[in-house]
Symmetry: C2
Subunit: 333 residues, 2 copies
């Protein structure tokens, strides 16, 4: 049974390409408020659950020991664009732990955003591990290890206490067992575990409602989510989808992208969490679908805000002469 | 009825993402030798049919008048990478027609290949219209207009003789009527017409067999296809999929990529044409599928060469530390 078409790409009057996928919108008790497609099969969440992975940074006391505020906590949950401010903030976080970029084991890549990459090249620069989109998350991992008196070397390995703590948090929040059979290696070399969209959505709902989660953990999760909502640029970057979504409704929407067409997030006012996956991994489609899912969640309560998100669910496509040629749009349901 | 999954993306032991699509392998008489999915619905071929669009360049005598050889003809069918050699060759073609890059109406973009773009930025350069991946095709259009004594201005418009000739060639080769209802605007601003995969595949088969096509047109098409096979770098670029595919079997395989997950091509020895489309537009998937389709076509006749293409149908995925994390592979059928 295939997932439904959730996003269409048009050219002229025709549909040129289609994206299939699924989403789950879940409340604190785990009830599915809305969904599409298969929300029970295991999905790799990739970067969309960085908040879960950062919970030990708070719970161990490391964040407070190093004086991390909203900007640092947001970067610890970020897939950032590698702009100079992101790089500097990651370096500053590591410095608090007595470390520098040499401690990072995430690997190195050019910034994904072309203008950012071109700017770096023009200045004769080359990316370092600090430019890696995950460097803030890894800075959080390293600072936690330092705080715990652990040897940070090998902190990306599944058996290192850093990854064991992250895994335990994800298992607790999703209510799933994450064994080797659902384990893969992420782009930044840490383990990534697949679980149902429904379970990831429920995990975010637990955090924003406090239901089904220990009080300390719920507070830690809300602190991270609030930091991301307060500092969306740090979590993403200039012109990025996550920044746009959260700036459209400050303090009311948390949305985090993950590679291979994933988004997770929460609507704290409504006590809801959401998770979605585009079958083919297409980010243009996940960005359209997440706006539509948020619009759907808001529709009954705040029509004007829902309209704003529905508008974000459709993006005009222009060619190299800026002529409108088509659109990428979530399929109305 | 949905198209089958044709390409899988794995991480660890799990399938992380999937791509659906279809393909048609057709002989000169129009018989479908092999296929998958819906090969009858209209698909925008995008750049995959640049050979059809370049036929008037030969038929009008313009190519001979300007002394175009394999390199120029290949560039006239190219979606090139905007490397210095591509830019220089496009400029040289235009100069033959007494024009320069200022005549191009394709618009301007940074080279799609990151290393090429970074290199240009490092040198303090900015792209011009000559860097546009379609600049060779447009140089061919402009030189044809000059040869015909036509005002080249507005040559991208549907009503200009240049586009009228291109449309007539596509209609003839595909055996379809290309009306406004199947017309869209391409990235480079010329019209693009949707037709069935089966029809595009048949068009390429006609060219390589001479069946169902006027002798002069068949010869023109074969001349263009042979130029592309002889000069694959000009048609694509360093490390590009089309270059790799054609270099794997020199003179025996013609393969041309199109945006939104399309490939068209031909196997002249076998008198076959092919066309494929990935539903979601994903190029990583079209590149895997085209290798599998070519391997399938070769299997009964040249097992060693078929093995070579089957190997190209599976690509190891490595992360930022070069650790193997998964694969993109055509689903064995």
């Amino acid at each position: 049974m295939e997932n439904p078409v959730v996003v269409e790409v048009t050219r002229g009057d025709l549909v040129e390409s289609v994206h299939r996928g699924g989403f789950a919108l879940v409340d604190g008790a785990g009830a599915v408020v809305a969904s599409a497609g298969d929300i029970a099969r295991p999905v790799f969440p990739r970067s969309a659950i960085k908040v879960f992975q950062a919970i030990p940074l708070i719970e161990t006391g490391a964040a407070d020991a190093f004086g991390f505020g909203d900007r640092e906590l947001s970067l610890a949950c970020a897939s950032h664009s590698g702009e100079e401010g992101h790089v500097a903030l990651a370096a500053a976080m590591l410095a608090k732990g007595g470390l520098d970029g040499g401690a990072l084991e995430c690997g190195c890549h050019w910034p994904f955003d072309l203008p950012v990459a071109l700017d770096l090249a023009r200045r004769g620069g080359e990316p370092t591990a600090l430019h890696n989109n995950c460097s803030g998350k890894h800075a959080g991992f390293l600072c936690t290890a330092v705080h715990q008196g652990e040897d940070p070397g090998g902190y990306v390995g599944a058996d290192h206490p850093v990854q064991q703590r992250a895994k335990a948090a994800i298992e607790d929040l999703t209510g799933t067992d994450l064994g080797a059979d659902v384990c893969g290696t992420d782009g930044c070399s840490i383990p990534t575990y697949a679980a149902p969209l429904k379970s990831f959505a429920h995990g975010f709902a637990k955090l924003v409602t406090g239901e089904g989660v220990a009080a300390e953990r719920g507070a830690a999760g809300r602190r991270l989510i609030e930091a991301c909502m307060a500092a969306p640029w740090e979590m993403s970057g200039t012109g990025r989808a996550c920044e746009k979504l959260m700036q459209a409704a400050p303090g009311r929407v948390f949305a985090k992208t993950g590679a291979e067409g994933v988004f997770c997030g929460a609507l704290p006012d409504f006590g809801l969490g959401f998770a979605l996956k585009i079958d083919d991994g297409g980010t243009r489609a996940s960005e359209a679908l997440v706006a539509a899912v948020i619009g759907k969640a808001l529709r009954g309560d705040d029509a004007a805000l829902a309209d704003k998100f529905d508008a974000l669910a459709s993006k005009t496509l222009r060619n190299w002469k800026k002529i409108t040629v088509g659109a990428v749009r979530a399929v109305p349901r």
